[in-house]
Symmetry: C2
Subunit: 396 residues, 2 copies
């Protein structure tokens, strides 16, 4: 294969298979996003073997999820999130705590020693907001109340995940320094709150003035992109994920920028988000199906992960009423990459067997695949108008 | 630096510096594109040292120039290019022949042995269409007659560059197989002509029918992207550059797709093209300034490269009248990456000294930097309405 073929080949195989399966799934009445993730499974190392995770895909996937969250931020009002802030903290904390306990419980029942059980539990706490955000955005549900709770809780969840990661990282070094952890947590939450309040208000005041002085064509888009990359970078240094920075950047400019910036961002998102989704599918480890005992544990872990998040997060949002609380619970089901990072630390410390590592990866892909159809069912009542909206957009 | 910081950091430094210098240059009445290339020089290894060429930037740069040419293709009618086909062949052939002879001449005068002089000449034949296309597109000049000649000639130039590359590659292996070279040239030209005629007409007939059956949101964009990646890939296998395939894909869908596809593509282009421009600047090798004798040769090579292309290509387009012929000549001045590939082969064969390699790289960046201001001057007469157009776009 000529070296110059690598990029177009990767683009073609990933993008076209994602869109093809998305089309098939939409026609079957299933969420297209599931088709895109399954496209990754299909072309991945365990089925067709056309594509393995590589540098090109990983860069495009990272950018894709960054633009996904930036786009979600664009459509969300900060004040709406602050309104549900208390509930979001309750939802996130309950979800993290119950997932951890349930993970430790199942592993202990399975006969794992204490340290291993703790690592398995820790690997089960993180929520991946990308999937839920994509489903809600594509169904135009971001402005519903449960959607706002989910988004705010996902940001809190990221800070909690960071704390869990610090503790586990401390275990890896042989000692847990609680002062360090408290400091890490304080910086991360401080950054998030500061950017979402003072930072955002400053941007809302300063950006239009800067914009008025810029002579560049598409200067407003350039300013928005600069803010996006700057906040994503600062977020990483503050200890939270780059996508939290991207989300905050979107929220900071969402109320002031021109429609044109939304359109240009959509283009980038349409191109790159499939790489994020296919990237998830590519990681699915089917080796868990090799041994019946491992498979059984995998099923147990997936069920535990789903049920614990659903129950805890629904309870955290009980004040929204049963239907909306259930929606929040389902929205928090997808498990994210932080879990895989924890699992990798456990693997490197030899306190997590390779089989359990495979199960964690399997669980994180499986919960991601199962969430969109469940979201579709729970949001059924508010689905009809959106489907029509999309129809109008497509016909327009 | 945390690993997760790498992507946002590269995005921020490259994108923000490109846009900042673009703004400064536009205010000074210079083309913004020169500012973006100089941003690469400034943050590159020889000046500030903030950024060196790396995997992330190279992927984004490759995608950027692919989308740049796709976007140019979207705005160009194939029939317009065929109209100027004969002239384009004359322009490209004259430019390649004279550049080669001039390069051999200067090197021989400088005392280089025969084989080295041939390599230096070969490294001087290729035209880089990306820069000229970006200047013309941003000034909304793509539909002028000289612009069409330049675009068509650039496609022919790519096929000629391929032939030169095959000959040089043959020299590298110790023997030049003329049957192989003829076959390579036939496949490359055959692919280009076939796609631009039969392929394009098929797409124009079939695509709207497929589109009518697709239920995906933004399905038309997904189809256009799939065609873009597929033709870029096929182009590489046919021996021409991926960007020729991208250009042909744009031309194939340009007349049938909805305005929405143009908008979404603009978003990707706005984001990625700066990475292509900064990437050029990053490669500038300032070590040629270390020794006066090398510097003198560098200046001689740059002048030779510019004058030979300008004279030959203007002569090739003489039937357009003097003003338009000059425009074509200036538009063909930027030298492209194929020259660097030839130079690398020469380097690996030890028939090109490191100093001459540095000069080739320097020449290719220098001609790229000098072309936009020259284009701006030669197109001055048709500049005014565009500047107003941009104003309207910005205000609207």
């Amino acid at each position: 294969m000529p070296a110059a073929a690598q990029i177009p080949l990767a683009m073609l195989v990933v993008f076209a298979s994602a869109k093809l399966l998305s089309e098939v799934f939409e026609r079957l009445g299933q969420p297209g996003i599931v088709g895109e993730i399954l496209a990754g499974v299909l072309i991945g190392p365990h089925v067709l073997g056309w594509m393995a995770p590589n540098e090109v895909l990983s860069i495009l996937s990272d950018l894709g999820v960054m633009f996904l969250l930036f786009g979600v931020g664009l459509e969300v009002k900060a004040s709406d999130l602050f309104e549900v802030g208390g509930m979001a903290v309750a939802v996130a904390t309950a979800g993290v705590a119950l997932s951890f306990l349930a993970g430790v419980g199942v592993s202990t029942l399975w006969g794992e020693p204490r340290v291993e059980a703790i690592f398995t539990g820790a690997a089960m706490v993180a929520t991946s907001v990308g999937i839920t955000a994509q489903v809600l955005a594509s169904r135009r549900l971001l402005n519903t109340r449960p959607a706002k709770v989910i988004l705010a809780a996902a940001v809190v969840d990221d800070v909690l995940g960071l704390i869990v990661l610090s503790i586990v990282g401390g275990l890896a070094k042989g000692q847990v320094n609680y002062i360090d952890i408290a400091l890490t947590a304080a910086i991360a939450s401080g950054f998030t709150v500061f950017v979402a309040t003072v930072g955002r208000r400053t941007v809302e005041r300063v950006l239009p003035q800067v914009q008025a002085r810029v002579t560049l064509v598409e200067g407003e888009f350039a300013l928005a992109m600069t803010l996006l990359f700057a906040l994503a970078l600062l977020a990483v240094y503050a200890g939270v994920a780059a996508i939290v920075g991207a989300f905050l950047a979107g929220m900071a400019v969402g109320q002031t920028v021109d429609k044109r910036v939304h359109e240009l961002t959509s283009g980038v998102r349409e191109l790159l988000v499939p790489f994020f989704l296919v990237g998830i599918g590519l990681r699915l480890d089917l080796s868990v199906f090799a041994k019946p005992s491992v498979l059984l544990l995998a099923v147990a872990i997936v069920l535990t992960a789903m049920i614990s998040k659903f129950v805890a997060c629904s309870l955290g949002a009980y004040r929204l009423g049963r239907t909306n609380a259930f929606r929040v619970g389902v929205g928090m089901i997808p498990h994210g990459e932080v879990g895989m990072v924890v699992a990798q630390i456990g693997l490197s410390l030899h306190v997590m067997p390779q089989s359990v590592y495979g199960i964690i990866v399997f669980m994180s892909v499986a919960t991601t695949l199962l969430a969109p159809p469940l979201l579709k069912i729970t949001f059924r009542g508010v689905m009809a108008p959106d489907a029509r909206d999309e129809e109008i957009v497509r016909l327009g």
